[in-house]
Amino acid sequence: MRAFDFVSAESADQAISLLSEHGPNVIVLAGGTDILVDLKHAKHDPDVVVDITRAEDLKGIEVNDGGLRIGALVTHTQIMDDPYIRENFPALVHAAHTIGAVQTRNLGTLGGNLVTCVPSMDSGPALMALEAEVTVAGPDGTRRMGLEEFFVGPRKTVLEHNEVLLDVIIPRKNLGKPADFLKFGLRKGQALALVNAASALWVGEGNTFKDVKISLGAVAPTVIRAAAAEDFLEGREITPENMAEAGRLAVEDAKPIDDFRASASYRRDLIAVLTKRTLDNAYRLAQGG
C-alpha cells in the first residue's frame, strides 16, 4: 500500500466534482469492505480516496412513484432490518443475510457490492430478477439503466472514474412480486457463492408462469439472466417438471468455469438445482406460504 490523499464528500455532487478534480487515479470509498482488502494487496494504487459515507443523498430506503428506491450507501444490515423490504422482498433479505458476517454487513453497502462487480456478488441476482435499475450520476447529469447494462465484466461496470452510483430502483410493477434467492457456498458464513440464483414470478391464469425472471451469479463473467429458461416457462403451467426443465435450460444459459473451488460440471449441477428451488420457493411465496 502506497500513501494516498483522503477527501470527504457531503453529497453526490460534491463527490463527482472531487473525483473530476483529482482524477483519473481516484477511488470512491463507501463501507470499505472491498477496497481495504484491495488496497492492502495493492490491487488499487490510488492517489486520492474520496469518502462518500457522509453523503446523505446516497442513503435511505423509500417507496416513491418510481418504485422502491434503495440508496447506494444502504448497508446489507439496513436491508435486512427494513420493515418494507422484509414484508415485500424476502429475497433481498436472504441475499443480504448471506453476505459475509455481521461486521461485513454492518459496513458493506449495496452500492459497493454492485460496483465491485464480482461475478459471485450476492446482491446481484435477486435485484436482476426483480428488474432493478440503477441511477448513475456524473458531471453531465444522471442516467438510468438495467443491471444487465450496468455490469460490464468481472470487476467492471459502466462507471467512469468521475461517476457515482446513486441508487437502485425496483420498478413499481414489481413491488411485492414473489421472488426467492439462494446461495450455495461451501460454508454457511464467510463463503463465496459457487453458484447463486434468484427467481421472480407472478402466477398467471390457469396456474401458469407469468413474467418469470431468473438470474444467476458466479457462472459467467457477470451476473446474468437465464433467458432460455425464462422463455421456456413463460405461459406454461407451474409444475415440478417444468421447473426442473427450466433448471436444465438455465445450465445452457450459463458458462461456468472449472477452478480449484469447484468443477464446471458441479457448478452446472448446482445451477439446475438452485434454479428449480428458487422457482419453487417463489411459487410457494405466491401461494402465501
Partner: protein, 778 residues
C-alpha cells in the same frame, strides 16, 4: 512413543477426597486471561514492540522443488532503510541430531534447512532469504531486489505418487530405514522409514473370520488453523545474549533449538512466551525465531517478524495427508479376530510425520489378539508437517472406525454393541507395547448408548454415526514454583504454556484446594525460560495433566515450609504439624494446645522463623492416563447438492477427574469442531505446479459458528490412578472421531461410503450419483 519409561519418573497415587474448589464451576469470566482477551488487551507476540526495532520479512520460494543455484542480495542491501539480509550462508550447517519437539521428533540437520533453504527449495513457500528494514514496505521492496537463481525440478505432492519408484526424489541421501530394513545405499527413496508392529498371528486371525471388511481411505493435509499467525520479536544484545518474545507451545524447547541452530549456550538465551492465539501442535516448531535473532545480530537492533496468513498456510503446519489401508475380520457373533493396517503418511519436505504416534492409536481401544500395523513415512514437496491435535490419529481412525461400522452391519449388530463387545479395558494388551491400565472406554460407550441423543428421531436422508478415539497423555520434564506473598496470597509460576485451554485457572483451583485458600487468592502465570527449570512443551495432552503434578508437588513443598514455621514457633517438630483448611494445626492433642495459624499469619512470622514461604518442583512426570472418547453425530444429506449438514453432535469422553469442567467441555467442543471442519471442508489444494491454491481462510474453509450445532458434552470420570487428582489428558481425543463418525452418519443417511477426505459436497454428490443406478436396480 518409543521412549523407555524412567524408573525415576514421578507418579502420585490418586487421592479420593471431597474437593472444595477442584471440580467446581467458577464463573469463566473469572479466568484471569478472559476479559483481556475479549477486550483486546491481551498481549500476543505481535503486540510486543521494542524501541528501535526493525521489521523482518521472509523471501520464499515460488517453486515446489528447485535447486537454489545462487542468491544475490547485493542490490537489496544497498536499498536505503535495509539493515540486514540473511540467507543460508548466515547459518551454520547442522549434523544429523534428533530431539523431541512436542509430540514429534526433529532432526537439526532438517530444522536448519526448513527455516532457510540450503541446497534446494523443497516446497512452495520455503524460505530462501530474510530482510530486516526500517519498515515493512522497505523490507518488501528489498525482497524484490534479491536475485535467486533457481533450477526448477520435477516435484511430487501426493503421498502415493511419492512412494513410486520413479518419483522425483527430494533428498539425495535418503534411503528407507526401519523395521527389518537395512538402508540400501543403492536405493534412494522418498520413503524415509518403514514401521511395523504386531500382535499374535494375523493370517490365523483372518482364517477365523466370518466377515472381512477392507477400507482404503485418503485424506488431504489440513492446517491447525490457529487464528494468530506466527510472530516473534528478537533482540540480540551487545552482551551476546538473545531475548525472544514469541508465540510458542514450549519456550524451553524453542530456546534449546535456537541455541543449537545459532551455536550458542542455552543460558544466553531468554524466551518469553507471549499469550497464544491457538497452536494445536502447530506452534511446536521454530520458524521465525532463529531468523529474527540472526537478523538482529547482524543489524544490531531488535527485529520483529509477523507472518501473513498466506505464509502460515504455505510454510507452517499442516498435518499429514495420508493413504490408509485397513483390513479387519470378525466372527458371525461380532468378535474381531484380525486387524491389519497400512499407514502411508506424508511428512512434508523432511522426514518425520506423525506416523509413530498414529501407528499406536490404530486399533487401541479394542481388545485384539491378531494385529499387524505397517507404516511409511514419506517425504514430498510440501511444508514439513507439524503436530496437529492427536497428530495422525483422525486419519487412521477414519479408515478403522468406518470399517468397524461395516463389520457391525455385516453381523447385524448395533455399532455401539459391536464396539462394547470388543472394547479395550484394564489389562488389554496393546499392539505397540504395554498393556492398558485403568481406562474408561467402555464407560463412554455406555454413556452414548444411554444418552437422549439416541432417541432423537431422524427424517429422510438423515443418518446417525458413531466413532471412537484414543490418545495418550505424555509426561516429561515439568517445573513449577509457588511463592506465598507477605499477605498470604499465592503466586504460581509454571512452565507448560497455557495454550488457551485455561490451564492458569485449573492450576489456580488446584493451588487453592491444596492451600485451603480461596481461588481468587491465587495468581498463576507462565514463567519465561529464566524463571524456571526446563519444561517440556504443552503437547501430547500433557499441559494440565503433567503440569499439575509439578504444581501439586511445589505447593506441598510450600506447605511443608509453612508447617516448619509453625513448628518453630510452637517449638515442636515439623512432622508434628499438619495442614488443614488453610491452617497449620498440631497433628494431635499430644503435640500441644496451639491456636491454628493461617497462611497469612504464618507469613508474618516467616522472616523470624527462617524466611519466605515458597515451594518448587522439578520433576519428570511419568507418562500415563490415556483418554478415550465416543462421538455421536446426526447429519442431513442433500441428495441434489451433496451438502452435508451436521444436525446434532454429542461427545462422551473420559476426562479422568475434571478439574474445571467448563473448560473440559470447551476442549471437547473445540476438538470436535476442528474435526467436523476437517471432515467436511478443510483441505490443502495444489496446482499442477505444486503451489498451494488456497492459502487463506476464504478458500481454506474452517467452519464458522453457523456451520455447527451446539455440541453436547458428557464428561465420563474414571480417575487416572497415577495422578493425585485423577487427571487425564483430554485435549486431543475429541478431534479423532469426527471424520469417521460423519462418514458413518452419511452412510446411515444415504447408503454411500465416503472414504475420500474431505467429504465435500461435490464428492458426496458424486458418490450418491454413482450409487443411484445400483440402488435403483435393487
Amino acid at each position: 512413543m518409543g521412549m523407555k519409561p524412567s524408573p525415576y519418573a514421578t507418579k502420585i497415587p490418586y487421592e479420593e477426597k471431597d474437593n472444595k474448589v477442584v471440580g467446581g464451576r467458577p464463573n469463566p469470566a473469572d479466568r484471569s486471561d478472559a476479559i483481556d482477551k475479549v477486550t483486546g488487551r491481551a498481549r500476543y507476540a505481535a503486540d510486543y514492540n521494542l524501541p528501535g526495532q526493525l521489521i523482518g520479512k521472509v523471501l520464499r520460494s515460488p517453486h515446489a522443488h528447485a535447486i537454489v543455484k545462487s542468491i544475490d542480495t547485493s542490490e537489496a542491501e544497498k536499498l536505503p532503510g535495509v539493515k540486514a539480509v540473511v540467507t543460508r550462508d548466515d547459518f551454520p550447517d547442522m549434523e544429523v541430531e534428533h530431539a523431541a519437539s512436542g509430540e514429534l521428533m526433529v532432526n537439526f540437520r532438517d530444522v536448519t534447512r526448513n527455516m532457510m533453504a540450503r541446497e534446494k527449495a523443497l516446497y512452495d513457500g520455503h524460505p530462501v532469504a530474510a530482510v530486516a528494514a526500517l519498515s515493512e514496505s522497505i523490507a518488501k521492496e528489498a525482497m524484490k531486489l534479491i536475485k535467486v537463481d533457481y533450477e526448477v525440478l520435477p516435484h511430487v505432492i501426493d503421498v502415493r505418487d511419492a512412494m513410486k519408484d520413479d518419483a522425483p526424489l527430494l533428498h539425495e541421501e535418503l534411503f528407507t530405514k526401519g523395521a527389518g530394513i537395512e538402508p540400501d545405499p543403492s536405493k534412494k527413496s522418498n520413503i524415509a522409514t518403514r514401521m511395523e508392529s504386531k500382535l499374535g498371528d494375523i493370517e490365523e486371525g483372518f482364517k477365523q473370520a466370518d466377515f472381512i471388511v477392507e477400507h482404503e481411505s485418503n485424506t488431504k493435509a489440513a492446517h491447525q488453523g490457529y487464528i494468530e499467525p506466527q510472530a516473534s520479536v528478537a533482540n540480540f544484545t551487545e552482551g551476546g545474549t538473545i531475548e525472544v518474545y514469541t508465540g510458542t507451545q514450549g519456550h524451553h524447547v524453542f530456546r534449546a533449538q535456537i541455541a543449537k541452530l545459532l551455536k550458542m549456550d542455552i543460558s544466553k538465551i531468554k524466551v518469553v512466551p507471549a499469550e497464544l492465539g491457538g497452536g494445536f501442535g502447530g506452534k511446536n516448531n521454530v520458524y521465525l525465531e532463529p531468523l529474527a535473532a540472526q537478523l538482529s545480530r547482524k543489524a544490531n537492533r531488535p527485529v520483529k517478524m509477523v507472518m501473513t496468513r498466506d505464509e502460515v498456510f504455505r510454510a507452517t503446519g499442516p498435518t499429514s495427508g495420508t493413504n490408509c489401508k485397513v483390513r479387519m475380520g470378525c466372527t458371525r457373533d461380532g468378535r474381531i479376530t484380525a486387524a491389519q493396517a497400512e499407514l502411508n503418511y506424508q511428512a512434508g519436505a523432511f522426514p518425520g510425520s506423525s506416523l509413530p504416534l498414529a501407528s499406536i492409536t490404530v486399533f487401541t481401544r479394542y481388545d485384539l489378539e491378531n494385529v499387524l500395523v505397517v507404516g511409511h513415512d514419506v517425504v514430498c514437496n510440501r511444508p514439513k508437517v507439524a503436530a496437529y491435535r492427536a497428530p495422525g490419529a483422525p486419519m487412521i481412525a477414519f479408515a478403522v472406525e468406518t470399517a468397524i461400522d461395516d463389520l457391525a452391519r455385516q453381523c447385524g449388530m448395533d455399532p455401539i454393541d459391536f464396539r462394547l463387545k470388543n472394547a479395550a479395558k484394564q489389562g488389554t494388551q496393546t499392539h505397540f507395547g504395554p498393556p492398558l491400565g485403568q481406562i474408561g472406554y467402555m464407560e463412554t460407550l455406555e454413556a452414548a448408548k444411554a444418552s437422549p441423543h439416541m432417541n432423537e428421531p431422524l427424517g429422510p436422508n438423515q443418518g446417525r454415526g458413531i466413532a471412537s478415539g484414543f490418545w495418550f497423555t505424555i509426561g516429561n520434564d515439568t517445573s513449577a514454583t509457588i511463592n506465598i506473598s507477605e499477605d498470604g496470597t499465592a503466586s504460581l509460576i509454571f512452565g507448560t504454556v497455557d495454550v488457551t485451554g485455561g490451564m492458569r485457572s485449573a492450576f489456580a483451583m488446584i493451588v487453592a484446594e491444596e492451600l485451603g485458600i480461596p481461588f481468587e487468592k491465587v495468581r498463576t502465570q507462565v514463567g519465561d525460560t529464566s524463571a524456571l527449570g526446563f519444561n517440556f512443551m504443552t503437547a501430547g495432552s500433557r499441559g494440565t495433566a503433567a503440569g499439575s503434578m509439578a504444581v501439586v508437588k511445589a505447593t506441598r513443598d510450600a506447605i511443608h515450609r509453612a508447617c516448619e514455621i509453625a513448628a518453630r514457633k510452637w517449638e515442636v517438630e515439623t512432622d508434628q504439624v499438619v495442614w488443614e483448611n488453610g491452617h497449620a494445626r498440631p497433628a494431635s492433642a499430644n503435640v500441644g494446645d496451639f491456636e491454628p495459624l493461617s497462611l497469612a499469619q504464618l507469613c508474618k512470622e516467616a522472616t523470624w522463623f527462617g524466611g519466605t514461604i515458597a515451594g518448587h518442583a522439578e520433576i519428570n512426570v511419568a507418562m500415563g492416563g490415556p483418554g478415550f472418547g465416543t462421538h455421536l453425530v446426526d447429519v442431513d444429506v442433500d441428495r441434489q447438492t451433496g451438502l452435508v449438514k451436521v444436525l446434532r453432535y454429542s461427545i462422551f469422553q473420559d476426562a479422568g477427574k475434571a478439574v474445571y469442567p467448563a473448560f473440559i467441555e470447551g476442549q471437547f467442543q473445540g476438538g470436535a469442531v476442528q474435526g467436523i471442519g476437517m471432515a467436511l471442508n478443510e483441505e490443502y489444494i495444489y496446482s499442477d505446479k505444486g503451489t498451494m491454491e488456497n492459502p487463506g481462510f476464504l478458500d481454506y474453509r474452517v467452519p464458522v459458528a453457523s456451520d455447527v450445532p451446539m455440541i453436547n458434552t458428557h464428561i465420563v470420570e474414571v480417575p487416572n490412578p497415577d495422578h493425585p487428582y485423577g487427571v487425564r489428558g483430554i485435549g486431543e481425543v475429541p478431534i479423532i472421531p469426527p471424520l469417521a463418525a460423519i462418514s458413518n452418519a452419511i452412510h446411515d443417511a444415504v447408503g454411500v461410503r465416503l472414504l475420500d477426505h474431505p467429504m465435500s459436497p461435490p464428492k458426496v454428490l458424486k458418490a450418491i450419483d454413482e450409487a443411484a443406478p445400483a440402488q435403483a436396480a435393487e
